[in-house]
Symmetry: C2
Subunit: 211 residues, 2 copies
């Protein structure tokens, strides 16, 4: 068990494998439901039914709907960490960073539930008083900060095309990745997300990406 898990799960849970399995099942069902109908429209009654427990049973594991949302976002964050965000503190290699980003987008494209979750929740979270708004605001700020470092690394090594403005490029590339998800969810057969990202990166980076 990692440190992050220990901080978010009750320490006793390791001793109750059945409860742990149920908890994981509920999180997975909630991830699916939130991605399909949004957080606000998802109902704990239907979630409980989908997991074969009563609504009171579900509320034993997650006392409020909001606590379930937190668990879903944490779960998703852990998956990202595994694939991508390993460079805490280390200086960022811009080429490696964007190669990893393409791999992450390709990985997401193989997991429609995860894409749907983030496409639906991130825009739902822009509205006032949404419980996930602070999470997404912080997440985007962190992503922009990290990608800006990657862009600046490329600029310092003269790996951007000469006419490309590095300022604001991170914001636009994150926007590109987000926007591709909506078009892909609507037309999965005509949109290839990692290919479009790679193509746009080729438009601004003057050397080929590794990997």
């Amino acid at each position: 068990m990692t440190k992050a898990q220990a901080a978010t799960r009750p320490a006793t849970s390791r001793n109750y494998p059945k409860g742990e399995r149920r908890r994981a099942q509920i999180i997975k069902a909630a991830l699916t439901a939130f991605g399909q109908v949004g957080y606000r429209h998802a109902s704990t009654v239907q979630l409980a039914a989908a997991c074969g427990v009563s609504r009171a049973g579900l509320l034993h594991h997650f006392p409020t709907k909001e606590s379930l949302l937190e668990a879903v976002l944490e779960e998703r964050e852990l998956q990202d960490d595994q694939h991508f965000f390993r460079t805490d503190g280390d200086p960022i290699d811009g080429l490696e960073y964007f190669a990893s980003m393409i791999r992450l987008v390709a990985h997401n494209q193989a997991n429609p539930l995860v894409v749907s979750l983030f496409a639906v929740l991130s825009s739902e979270a822009t509205t006032a008083d949404h419980p996930a708004r602070p999470y997404f605001a912080a997440r985007y700020e962190r992503a922009r900060s990290q990608m800006t470092q990657a862009v600046e690394d490329l600029a310092a090594r003269d790996l951007l095309h000469s006419h490309v403005a590095p300022s604001g490029l991170a914001v636009s590339l994150i926007a590109l990745i987000d926007g591709l998800q909506v078009q892909w969810l609507l037309s999965p057969d005509t949109i290839d997300m990692p290919e479009h990202l790679r193509s746009m990166l080729r438009n601004v980076i003057s050397v080929e990406l590794p990997g």
Copy 2:
């Protein structure tokens, strides 16, 4: 009254100014509500209350919630037409097209309600059985087709940087515009949507845009 309006509004409505005003009021309130909490979570009861009519009164104008959604999308479409989509049939001037696109994004940035409506509805509509899914699928297909023509016009006139791949560029630029909306709604003070679009267009177009 334009052809589009005549096709969607009852022909008799012009003779009932009070009903017409009420109808416009309801559409505006629905546009706000759908953008704030999404279509599914918005309630006709609250909409009616916000308009000072009973729920039955609201349903007199819009017999179903879905018919109200249609009216909101048509209303928004008409606004777009006024500002932008005037080139039906005509060949597209790529430079004019993207200059208009920047103006449209700037116009949207001055109207948070409209941005919120589209950011929230477009992703909500990606989910199965959403009544607006066909609308958004068709809208994106049309937008891609139109922007692809603009990109091809630029390519034919040699106005793209030599290393830029025109294929798929329209998809990515539309994705960029959509993605910027989410970041802007979460951080309106740190994101300038038209500026980021202009900057990205400068990265691929080798001449300055008009206007």
